[in-house]
Symmetry: C2
Subunit: 319 residues, 2 copies
């Protein structure tokens, strides 16, 4: 049994893990990454691999990155929330570490992990929606990751839900991730606190007295305590989430949606209003089946486990 390393690279930190063929993490490390500097991020990746490979016999490295990855799984073409533009991530890291490297979109890596070891087991057509700062997403078709013609399918975070809507990091306006993400949740809470400080008393208390101090986990905490303002924020964001899932079902008709990402840790606070909006908005409702809606099971480890397993599969296919 050979081990592989999976790395999940986000805007501010990278998690790396040595993973076996059952999806178990043998050892895990975390590092900060400078979002603005691709070369420094690549050095961080190389260093953490070198450290892990000194203690384990490793066959390959999989990198899950929050960006559009090209069809050859080598380049980060574009990352809406990172500085990568046409970055040859695979070659750069491979030259530094001397191991086969496989680059994948981070949401694709997470979905692969859920399909192999988690909540998506047994489904053939699955849409993963990772609700974090933005929306990461990935699509399983026929039991395999679907990548599209140019490698970058499954980016519904940037389909337009509001004409002339909120400005997005991708440069467009009205993108879904500006309405159904953790950022949107925080924006709603802060806006609430600005417009109606009395109604948002608990949120302001948790945020240290100012709207700008309110964070996502604090909105979740207040909602768990039953605070009406915080619950309303989850309803608004959950409603946008469910409407988007209905749109995706009209286009893709999946058997299951997996809801992951940091905000999904709020569980039914997010899922219940999303399910309500999905079922109310699905075109042809009453004459068709609803997709299952399930919470991701592998949590923050999904990206590491999936990237490692995809790297294992990649070298096996090449052998």
């Amino acid at each position: 049994m050979r081990l592989t390393i999976g790395i999940d690279v986000g805007g501010t930190k990278a998690a790396a893990g040595v993973v076996d063929d059952k999806g178990r993490i043998i050892e895990k490390l975390k590092r900060s990454t400078p979002a603005a500097s691709p070369p420094e991020t690549e050095q961080v990746i190389a260093d953490v691999v070198t450290e892990l490979a000194s203690r384990h016999e490793v066959a390959a490295v999989g990198i899950g990155a929050a960006g559009f990855i090209d069809g050859t799984r080598s380049f980060v073409l574009f990352a809406p929330n990172l500085a990568w533009r046409g970055e040859p991530l695979r070659t750069s890291v491979q030259e530094k570490i001397g191991l086969p490297v496989f680059v994948e979109n981070d949401a694709n890596a997470s979905l692969w992990a859920e399909a192999r070891f988690g909540a998506a087991r047994g489904y053939q057509e699955v849409f993963l929606i990772a609700v974090g700062t933005g929306i990461g997403a990935s699509l399983l078709i026929g039991g395999d990751i679907y990548r599209g013609r140019f490698g970058i399918a499954g980016e519904p975070g940037h389909y337009r839900v509001v004409p002339d809507g909120r400005l997005c990091g991708c440069g467009n306006r009205g993108c879904w991730e500006q309405y159904a993400s953790g950022s949107a949740l925080v924006a709603e809470a802060r806006d609430f606190a600005r417009r109606s400080p009395e109604g948002a008393m608990r949120l302001l208390q948790l945020g240290g007295g100012t709207p700008e101090g309110i964070s996502g986990p604090q909105v979740t905490q207040a909602a768990r305590e039953g605070d009406p303002a915080a619950l309303r924020c989850f309803q608004i964001v959950g409603n946008w989430l469910g409407q988007g899932m209905a749109d995706l079902a009209a286009i893709i008709d999946p058997g299951c949606f997996i809801i992951g990402g940091g905000v999904s840790e709020a569980g039914s606070l997010l899922i219940d209003p999303a399910r309500w909006a999905y079922e109310r908005s699905l075109p042809g409702r009453g004459y068709r089946d609803f997709a299952d809606i399930r919470l991701a099971e592998l949590g923050a480890d999904a990206g590491v486990v999936g990237a490692a397993d995809l790297a294992r599969r990649f070298v096996a296919a090449q052998a």
Copy 2:
């Protein structure tokens, strides 16, 4: 070489053709269909098959219908613009004619024809957008029609593009087909004529003097003559079409869009503004490839040819 019959069933008429294995139509018939009565429509289908089968040796019948078809290709679950709700179309027709019957979404049938014999040849990932009264659509993945978990993938005509937007036949508001279809083109032209009769003089002239008299082909005719009001209508509808294609590309990343349906006969009048909006709106533009945008090649025959060829494939797979 065996022949099969393909039938394209719309809201007001059905076209039936005897088709050979090269996609050539040997004989074709047209009939009126009463949209409000599924049993009468089924009798029309049975009669036209019986007539054609009396003159040709036919192995199977494929029906392309404008509705959501279930995963077994037997039922019309729901048709936004027809009276069919959970209609067992396959069994009903099969009992009447004594030949194997295969039911398919009409846009799926058209895309299959374009993939085998028309504009989609050589592509593996294709989105067909049929711009008619509404929007029919179909998705080719890995060279095959993608049907989703429950058989009804590829209905982007009913994804929401405007919150609380125009009411749609499906019961929701703001569906894409209310903005990027032939109906939308006519609605824009009539609205123009109501608000600014002087600016829409040519449209009113063609429409017999009243806004309600203006028809889709008349808008196309006026635009071909260079009438600014008619050109503006095509720009508005083309803009919605291209924005939607950018949204679909964010989700599916196809190699090619095929634009078909009655309105596509306007050619560059529709395609040029659509391409402009698509290229301006595509998330990650500048860092990724644009999909090809091509006009359908088989015109109004695509549904008949595709349904017949799918029926041929269906009986071959069962043999």
